[in-house]
Amino acid sequence: MTTQATDLDALVAQKYRHGFVTDIESDTVPPGLDEDVIQLISRKKREPQFLLDWRLKAYRHWLTMREPDWAHVRIQPIDYQAISYYSAPKRKDGPKSLDEVDPKLLATYEKLGVPLHERARLAGVAVDAVFDSVSVATTFKDKLARAGVVFCPFSEAVLNHPELLEQYLGTVVPYTDNFFATLNSAVFTDGSFVYVPKGVRCPMELSTYFRINAANTGQFERTLIIADEGSHVSYLEGCTAPMRDENQLHAAVVELVALADANIKYSTVQNWYPGDEEGRGGIYNFVTKRGECRGANSRISWTQVETGSAITWKYPSCVLIGENSVGEFYSVALANHYQQADTGTKMIHIGRNTRSTIVSKGISAGHGQNTYRGLVKILPSAEGARNYTQCDSLLMGDRCGAHTFPYMEIRNPGAVVEHEATTSKIADDQLFYCRSRGISEEDAVNMIVNGFCKAVFKELPMEFAVEAQNLLAVSLEGAVG
């Protein structure tokens, strides 16, 4: 008789589909890092003195630091002198519109399913596309400008809004914060900048597609979003990367500032190259993401779907300073093949009646190792603080792992903190049940996984939720246990 195909090895072997390299001449600095390189980056970007000084302070501090080793990941040593710290797509005079953008670049986006102009027009989404380290195209600027919203490449903000940068840069994630954030502070090349003025509801979702392309080029993005009093903004970040043999380091920093009554929603779908079936050549994704709810009644919400990277080390966090401010973290993290994900969040309650919600869904398949690491810290000043945490793990097959490290530091006796955790397996009988109703094995797996992730997907903006489901389906094709 026919038996069910539960052969993991065959099924888990699903190739990464976005593996290709666009042949564009890069303006790349030779590998290595010293103060000269930092001076060069700063000069190329025509940065004001304060920024250069800040970079150099960060660099000098970085030299005194050591790589963190507490994460639940196995990692090859990184040679920081072997990385090239600056790479820009070559262009004669900067493109003034999409028509002037290198057609090969646009073709790359097409391959990734990001038809820039189309997507922007159809979905009403402004896209600030980051190709390697320099932003090459920005759309819908006018519409945003009319609303008073600033949404531009970081390097442009350096030139046009230095006063905002000087006021906010490094105030959420200081340059001394951690090894990778400090490195980023010294060498970051570009990223996105958003400022939403008082009382303005941003008229569209802001979206950035990141992509790593040049070989051996670490990516050091820097994103700063400031939501002034009473403003609302929703920001989407998504990315894919081409296939590479060497491990590529990605150490981004994202800082969010929400003033009184402001609302920031930050959604990420991350699909960087995870390495091959043996775990070779994937992206190292060591990101520092943090938001501060500075004003009363402000809210910061992180939603992430992490399916890519060889190693993910990422804890989007909220510092709840303002009274009644709210922090949220919704996460789906997938670890297939030899992927390792150590991710979670920190919720720091400082203000009175601050609330936080954490919903984490970890999926492990193949030899994947998925770790949830979360800190809920309630300071004595956080009278009436509340936290709810839910961590669920789904295992596919018997060679993967799920780990949960919840830390709690409660220094106010009136705080209410709840934690729930479950671990489950996609069981053969669930699959057989679906199949015996006529549903193919792959559809059945997708159905079960999507059911598991439902609480997170419903937090994503509509069109992103569909993408996220598709991405999960592609990433898990055949991963049945």
Partner: protein, 251 residues
């Protein structure tokens, strides 16, 4: 419709079916009865294609096709339905969603157009009335937190929606109180028809009070020892299974 010849099946080294023969024609209702461990559930599982059962000899022909060569989903699409003895919970997956995906998979195979959400809901609501299930079933997770009786009703609802040609009900009566039994039996009876065959696998006679079978077979030690009409079930109820075994040994 279904022709089982000399079927031998085992789990690991344990032989369970030892030369089973059964002929089922369209329009017929067959009851397979037998003591615990006789191979009833194994037969149901082998027909649906559950992994872990090895068929070592014999053939199963379904509508002219070799059923054993087909994957479980292919069997389902071709019209075979198994009502599970222990329906499986799938948390977070909407009951309606599973049902719609299943129906559209089956319809696609038949060359019928997929139903849109409105047509589908109208149809499901009607079947739910028959099964006396309330609206909340539509939004709950598949069997998630269902009582034993609710799970069994849900199985028959799925069967009513999918309209299989051959339905195998594995101990659908177990764990049901008398009211639920009546509802489930009602649902099954409403599906009886000249084009459909039903195989009831059951331990007790009481289900047959509500669903009158055309044939009753006694399965013991992996073989069908005796076949008869409905009166055989009553006799089994009265006398137990031992006499059938003794009779078979003598013969």
């Amino acid at each position: 419709m279904l022709s089982i010849r000399n079927l031998h099946a085992q789990i690991g080294a344990r032989k369970i079916l030892k030369g089973l023969n059964l002929e089922v024609r369209a329009g017929e209702v067959h009851a397979i009865m037998g003591p615990n461990g006789s191979g009833k559930s194994t037969l149901a599982s082998v027909l649906a294609g559950r992994a872990g059962y090895e068929v070592t000899a014999g053939t199963v022909e379904y509508l002219g096709q070799d059923l054993l060569e087909m994957a479980p989903e292919e069997r389902a699409r071709a019209g075979v339905f198994l009502a599970f003895q222990y329906p499986v919970e799938i948390p977070g997956v909407n009951n309606t969603y599973l049902l719609k995906a299943a129906l559209n998979a089956v319809r696609k195979h038949r060359g019928a157009a997929e139903l849109d959400a409105f047509e589908f809901l109208a149809m499901v609501r009607e079947k739910m009335k028959l099964m006396q299930m309330d609206e909340s079933f539509l939004s709950r997770g598949v069997n998630e937190g269902f009582s034993g009786g609710e799970k069994k009703r849900n199985e028959i609802l799925q069967m009513a929606v999918l309209e299989p040609k051959l339905a195998v009900l594995d101990e659908t009566d177990s764990g049901l109180d008398i009211d639920a039994l009546r509802v489930v039996a009602n649902g099954v009876n409403s599906l009886r028809g000249p084009d459909r065959a039903i195989v009831l696998v059951t331990h007790y006679q009481r289900l047959l009070d509500y669903i009158a079978p055309d044939f009753v077979h006694v399965l013991s030690d992996g073989r069908i020892l005796k076949s008869g009409d409905k009166s055989l079930a009553l006799e089994l109820e009265r006398r137990g299974y031992d006499w059938v075994r003794q009779e078979a040994q003598v013969a």
